[in-house]
């Protein structure tokens, strides 16, 4: 008897493996390689990747960039219209500074994300299709530049999905995407 609570007898390494177990091992290796290959290939050919340049930045330094950006942006009833393709958003307890912002479909924007205080979560979805949602971690000390191109107009809602303190649940902002 091969028992898991007794030392195996004799030369256990050279014992044959059941044919079905061998087939399963082959399937397992194949599936593992597919999982790896697909994930790796998608960074090259896919449209959705949590990838962007990162810079170290002090909160004050980012704040200056944000202030400068706000001055250059056009202030409308729906929110800021950025002067170019850069969008600055700084998370702080308990708001998204830089939102609301008005963007156009079909334009690639560089979102510059940073936190002024603690860790936050940038969780974004269009109002009318909640299953389309993405989530990015926002850290103090780092500026993450994530490009995004919206193809559907509508109101997109940002909520914070990293616990940031007692007011966490009220941390909300909007992005209005208009037909471009």
């Amino acid at each position: 008897m091969t028992s898991p609570i007794k030392p195996p007898d004799g030369n256990w390494w050279d014992q044959p493996v059941n044919r079905r177990e061998s087939i399963w091992l082959g399937l397992g290796v194949g599936w593992s390689l597919i999982l790896f290959g697909w994930m790796s290939a998608w960074t090259r050919v896919g449209d959705q990747n949590p990838i962007g340049e990162t810079f170290r930045v002090e909160a004050e330094e980012f704040r200056e960039k944000l202030t400068d950006y706000k001055e250059r942006a056009e202030d409308t009833d729906d929110g800021l219209v950025p002067p170019d393709q850069d969008v600055y958003i700084q998370a702080m307890r308990f708001q998204w500074d830089g939102a609301p912002v008005v963007l156009e479909t079909g334009t690639e924007y560089d979102f510059h994300l940073n936190s002024m205080d603690v860790q936050h979560g940038f969780s974004l979805r269009p109002e009318d299709a909640l299953s389309k949602q993405i989530n990015l971690q926002v850290l103090p000390g780092y500026e993450w530049v994530v490009p995004m191109t919206f193809d559907e107009p509508g109101t997109y809602h940002i909520i914070c999905n990293e616990f940031c303190g007692q007011g966490h649940r009220s941390m909300h902002g909007t992005i209005v995407v208009e037909e471009g």
């Binding site: 091992l25 990015l136 649940r169």
Partner: protein, 581 residues
């Protein structure tokens, strides 16, 4: 002889003069020192389970916003207590007990350095009390730590101190296990360890890696909170924290798999389909499983793409492959072992004839199935770089880890507790029927609750860690109320699952206090698989020669579910707008 403090007579088994007894169920030679320390750590774990389970009720009833039990301040406190007592204290105390089972008990040795073991227990208990005290007494500007205590959130320094004390205590408590392994190999240099001991040894190495990570995270964080150092980088903390944060979950996983091999063998006659294959899988875990902690940093700014892909894939999915191996090897061992004993006609006769009314068996099987289908598959989903964007910090993540650590580890450990009540505490269940029902009731209810968590997270983007988001987000018209119907299902099944948890504690504690004593081998005969493990000991009758086709079919079903879930997740992702460079 019972100790004078042992008023319930829980530590008073009969031993021979040399301090050993022969277990009538496993056939193992069990020393008094092993018995008593496994009981000590196991009982402490059950206390943590009971205490942390109370907060399962308050937390779930707050997340079900129709009830909305707690205000946000209390919610975060309760959530922190729920996380630390269940995910850390229940699990880790249990795992030390499992190390003592997998090491000295399986090897038929005494537990060396019992004073060290007791000291370890004391330090661990002190750490656990400190952490609980720090969470309860959190005051502004400090915030409740939750599980993660992310820097630079102001968290009570006492909390970090308590966590460090607990980690150190765990290392101390593991020392007698390492000493056992050392003595065993010194005395028997050429002898191979039994598979369960080998698995326990792998678990312990993975555990030490995880614990070192914890010291690297909490140590500097404590210094920063005490203003001894000025700054502790948020990204650095996250990377160090997740070495322990996820590393401890890998301890749960490997310990659970050791328990699977152990219990399917003892109560249902499973054998080891291939020592070579199963041991290789544990070696793969040893090298690769802790890399997987990187999946917590997939949607983070500070780590490179190559680093993320390499690590989250456990180096080309080395650890996922290992889990796929166990997914076959354990049921295959059961199938072949039972066929060998004449208990397996047709494709699934080995399963239908199994001892389903034995809670030790049913817990183990439910743990295997539910861990695989709900916990394991979703872990690979959210561990893919791109899919992680749709899972990260949503309630689906919470669903995933309730699939692993509750449906997987907790259910398996409950099975182990049922086993230990009969074979170490020597007590009959206070009610056979309630004990039989408990695994079915708990697993089914929790399974539905977990599925709902995943659905509301993925399909409605419900965030985790918030007291209010479905019915109302303060300050805006916008809400996620479309998820309310699924939350109602979640709430009801969470209540049922908690009832199942209460049932477990009632049966376990009730049996310990009021259960009839197991007087002789005949009293425990029903635990032993089909009339005894001694059958079919013919060495010319190797287990690999038996049919494993039932297992093969089940594994193909599992793989199909895996592939379908993968395709659905990717389909949802490709519906999104264009993100990332």
């Amino acid at each position: 002889m019972a100790h004078r403090l042992d008023v319930l007579g829980l530590f008073d088994n009969e031993y021979r003069e040399d301090g050993f007894r022969t277990c009538s169920v496993t056939g193992l030679e069990v020393h008094r020192s092993v018995d008593n320390h496994v009981k000590l750590f196991g009982l402490t774990a059950v206390v943590a389970l009971l205490y942390g389970g109370i907060f399962a009720f308050t937390v779930a009833m707050t997340r079900w916003e129709v009830i909305g039990l707690l205000d946000p301040g209390a919610f975060y406190t309760h959530l922190s207590l729920h996380a630390w007592n269940l995910l850390i204290f229940w699990m880790v105390f249990m795992e030390i007990a499992i190390l003592y089972v997998g090491g000295p008990m399986v090897l038929g040795r005494r537990l060396p350095f019992t004073r060290v073991a007791k000291a370890g227990w004391l330090v661990m208990a002190a750490g656990a009390v400190l952490v609980n005290y720090a969470i309860w007494t959190t005051e502004a500007p400090n915030e409740a730590p939750l599980l993660t205590a992310y820097v630079p959130m102001p968290i009570a320094p006492l909390f970090y101190a308590g966590a460090i004390v607990f980690i150190l205590g765990t290392v101390v408590a593991a020392l007698p296990f390492f000493a056992t392994m050392w003595f065993e190999k010194r005395e028997n240099p050429g002898k191979t360890l039994p598979l369960v001991s080998f698995a326990a040894f792998v678990t312990s190495i993975i555990a030490v890696e995880a614990l070192v990570g914890g010291l690297l995270a909490f140590g500097p964080a404590l210094l920063w909170r005490l203003e001894i150092i000025e700054w502790w980088d948020a990204a650095w903390y996250r990377q160090m924290y997740w070495i322990i944060g996820h590393g401890t979950q890998q301890i749960n996983l490997v310990a659970m798999i050791a328990v699977w091999y152990f219990l399917t063998h003892v109560v249902a006659g499973a054998e080891v389909a291939s020592e070579k294959v199963s041991r290789t899988a544990f070696i793969l875990y040893l090298f690769f499983i802790n890399l997987g902690a990187a999946h917590h940093l997939l949607s983070d700014p500070a780590v490179s793409t190559g680093w993320r892909i390499w690590n989250t894939s456990y180096a080309f999915y080395g650890a996922t492959f290992a889990s796929l191996i166990h997914a076959f090897a354990i049921p295959a061992g059961l199938e072949a072992g039972r066929r060998k004993r004449g208990k397996g006609g047709g494709l699934f006769g080995w399963l239908t004839s199994a001892p389903w009314s034995n809670p030790v068996f049913s817990s183990t099987i439910f743990s295997i199935i539910l861990f695989g289908f709900l916990g394991g598959i979703t872990g690979v989903m959210m561990g893919q770089l791109q899919l992680n964007m749709t899972w990260h910090n949503t309630f689906a993540t919470v669903g995933h880890f309730h699939g692993t650590v509750v449906l997987g580890t907790t259910v398996a450990f409950m099975g182990l507790v049922f086993f230990v009540i009969r074979t170490m505490f020597m007590r009959q269940y206070i009610s056979e029927r309630l004990a039989s029902i408990q695994p079915y009731f708990y697993s089914a209810a929790m399974g539905v609750a977990v599925l709902m968590m995943m659905y509301v997270g993925i399909l409605y983007g419900i965030p985790r860690r918030t007291a209010e988001v479905v019915e109302n987000i303060p300050g805006t018209e916008f809400s996620l109320s479309a998820a309310a119907p699924l939350f109602a299902v979640f709430g009801i099944f969470a209540l049922l699952a908690i009832t199942g948890g209460v049932l477990f504690v009632l049966v376990a504690v009730g049996s310990l206090v009021f259960g009839d004593r197991v007087e002789n081998a005949a009293d425990n005969a029903d635990l032993v698989a089909d009339g005894g493990l001694g059958m079919a000991q013919d060495p010319d009758d190797p287990v690999h020669a038996y049919e494993m086709r039932g297992t093969f079919v089940l594994c193909l079903v599992f793989l199909a579910a895996f592939v379908i879930t993968y395709l659905l997740n990717w389909y949802l992702l490709t519906q999104l707008w264009s993100i990332g460079a």
